[in-house]
Symmetry: C2
Subunit: 412 residues, 2 copies
């Protein structure tokens, strides 16, 4: 199954057997786009200022005040690594106006022993400023406990200057949902102790493979072309990730895919869109799998597996009276078990023959692998957007609600 097209790029692999005729102009379009869009080459930036800041911060709690693209990327990387590495510093994310969760989170760490990363690309994000004001009224944000990350020249940058708070710019040609490998993601990740050099190295591997290796590039273009050509039939793309470490990565993928690919077409003005769904295995085999197997044929499925969990937990070799039939699981490691569950689910789906299926395998849980996954999905998103004739990098649809909210706030 899933094996006649296998592109191995360093550690991460992606295998699928659906095919599509690739138009070679697609790679030209992306090469042109690379000259103006910033995410492609973030892996080459100078990160020494981020590392310098990180080495000077002593607080135990790193707190992101930011929402959407200003929070999801750092969250994806941190949660991926933390379950295995258990960082000494803890990352807390304040990305809502929900008083119940704000109350609970603000009580979960010592606000005095915290360093705040205030992140807003535009500088005027309502949720972010509301939370910042709240925190400022309790502890006063200053150069000892705060860094600001925002567009160069924004009102938030000016605020930072007025208080002598250090600030980093998000490059103008890097959108929020593509900003995890810019200062927006790297600064909080460096602060908490993530090896951001390794993270960028992983991203660089995939970027270089795409632009330098014809086979890798063709494989990714084929996948993108298939998704775009079947956007009306398979309008839902499920990412079925076999480990809890991917929960926030799934959320990052949902934003990247949904917000980039849900657009009016440039030329036709038609509404197009591919709907992302993040699933965690094996748990969601008991929730969502039935719908994939027997439901309407409107879904593709990508499985992500970890080859080496580097964990020795094992089902003991004990027998429960009357449950002897279950002894078939005895002595397997849980890592073996979860991967056999993934394989079994894929074989079952593959046998149906009308559900597009592919598998991504990463070697282990480390910063390079998540860096690879990030760039892989950013490239795939850019390719699909090109095929669909849409702008992957704007989000005009969310403006109307913001305008209505401003009117309401002013009592109009």
């Amino acid at each position: 199954m899933c094996s006649n097209l296998k592109t191995k790029i360093m550690m991460m692999t992606n295998s699928f057997k659906f095919t599509a005729h690739v138009n070679d102009e697609l790679s030209d379009a992306v090469a042109r786009e690379r000259k103006t869009i910033g995410f492609y080459d973030l892996c080459d930036q100078d990160i020494s200022p981020f590392l310098e800041l990180a080495s000077s911060v002593k607080q135990k709690n790193i707190v992101i005040i930011g929402i959407g693209g200003s929070a999801l990327g750092a969250s994806a990387v941190y949660r991926f690594l933390d379950l295995v590495r258990s960082f000494e510093k803890k990352l807390h994310i304040l990305d809502t106006t929900d008083p119940l969760v704000l109350d609970s989170k603000l009580n979960s760490f010592d606000m005095e022993d915290a360093y705040y990363a205030l992140i807003s690309k535009s500088g005027g994000t309502i949720e972010t400023i509301a939370v910042a004001k709240y925190i400022d009224s309790a502890i006063t944000l200053n150069k000892e406990n705060c860094v600001v990350i925002t567009d160069s020249g924004s009102i938030l940058e000016k605020f930072a200057d007025s208080r002598g708070i250090q600030h980093f710019a998000i490059p103008a040609n890097v959108g929020g949902r593509f900003s995890v490998l810019s200062s927006a993601g790297l600064v909080p990740l460096a602060l908490v102790g993530v090896n951001i050099e390794l993270l960028l190295e992983g991203a660089r591997k995939v970027r270089d493979a795409f632009f330098n290796e014809q086979g890798y590039c063709h494989s990714l273009m084929q996948k993108a072309t298939f998704y775009a050509q079947h956007a009306n039939t398979y309008n839902i793309n499920c990412l079925f990730s076999y480990s809890e470490v991917f929960r926030e990565f799934n959320a990052w993928y949902v934003q990247l895919w949904g917000e980039s690919l849900g657009k009016k077409q440039r030329h036709s003005e038609l509404h197009v869109g591919l709907t992302p769904i993040g699933l965690i295995g094996p748990t969601d085999q008991h929730s969502f799998l039935q719908l994939i197997v027997d439901g309407k044929r409107d879904k593709s499925v990508t499985v992500i597996k970890i080859k080496e969990f580097e964990n020795e937990m094992r089902v003991p070799d004990n027998s429960f009276e009357h449950l002897e039939s279950m002894d078939i699981i005895n002595s397997y490691s849980f890592a073996e078990l979860i991967n056999m569950q993934a394989d079994s689910m894929m074989e079952a789906l593959d046998s149906l023959d009308d559900i597009p299926l592919d598998i991504i395998e990463i070697e282990s849980v480390n910063a390079s692998e998540i860096g690879q996954l990030i760039l892989y999905y950013e490239l795939l998103t850019a390719l699909v957007a090109n095929m669909l004739d849409i702008d992957a990098y704007d989000q005009p649809g969310v403006e109307m609600g913001k305008i209505i909210l401003k009117d309401k706030l002013q009592g109009r």
Copy 2:
């Protein structure tokens, strides 16, 4: 907006303005189904055995060993209430074979000061038995630290008897994803200190309104009919819940809706299915909203709002230099802010005129309200399934993967 059809049932309300011609036979079909399907009348059961057990358990940590329908219901209710009530006893859920999360969770509580609810309807769920074996090898499951909840006569029940462990039956005519108000959900919830009487009272209100009040019944049938009749156009149903307290309720909804409505039709054998998506506001306005607004017109949206957050957190009346334009949020409570955000998003969606939209409002965060929501969604699911000519209560699609896994485990 959203107001020409408003059915108020006690506290919870649901308003929408899309219409559909309701076939009166639908209510007859449901009345017939009620005679054989168990979830409708769980709210009338005798809960004194559950309360008796709860009063005798002294351990601080209540641990569910169960997956899918054996975990999601209790999790939805507990997480909904815990952010506000902060229960003295903590609920932990072991619903995976992922060694990384199992390791982390088992280190997060004292295994000796824990009481285990071992829950599996069939009695032979691989994930559940694997985790139970692991725990048993560390602390030995016995009548002092464990209760078993399973089908009457299952091999797991016999195991419980062999060790003198108390067990409760899940009624044979109540499926896993409809079992939150049976012993499967009520026992762990009672153990942790949830007012399960109030929970059932909420459910009873909705059940009685549906079967006794023509207006309420008609409204729900109209909504179900609309979803079923437009299943091919609007094949995605987004539940946009405005508070983090709904995160696990969303997950419960995803299982209920997806696993019940993703089926082959009884008569045509055609694959049909409605795809559930759970979103949390305002956070996911910065992730998924763009796709709803500008993407393909394949989504309906239901918003859930809490009228009274019973929380006084307020944006302080302070001004940030250079950010004076943001002072329009000053002095609003966060509860006002989040609800204005919900209203603004709904007004924006409503103005588009081609996205089916409705709103559910609950009074506050308490057990009765979540009980109402649970029965509301179970009824809606049953109605849509009837309209789609499918069996809401089976899950044949997940069997194939289980058979393949068993073969793999036995090395075949």
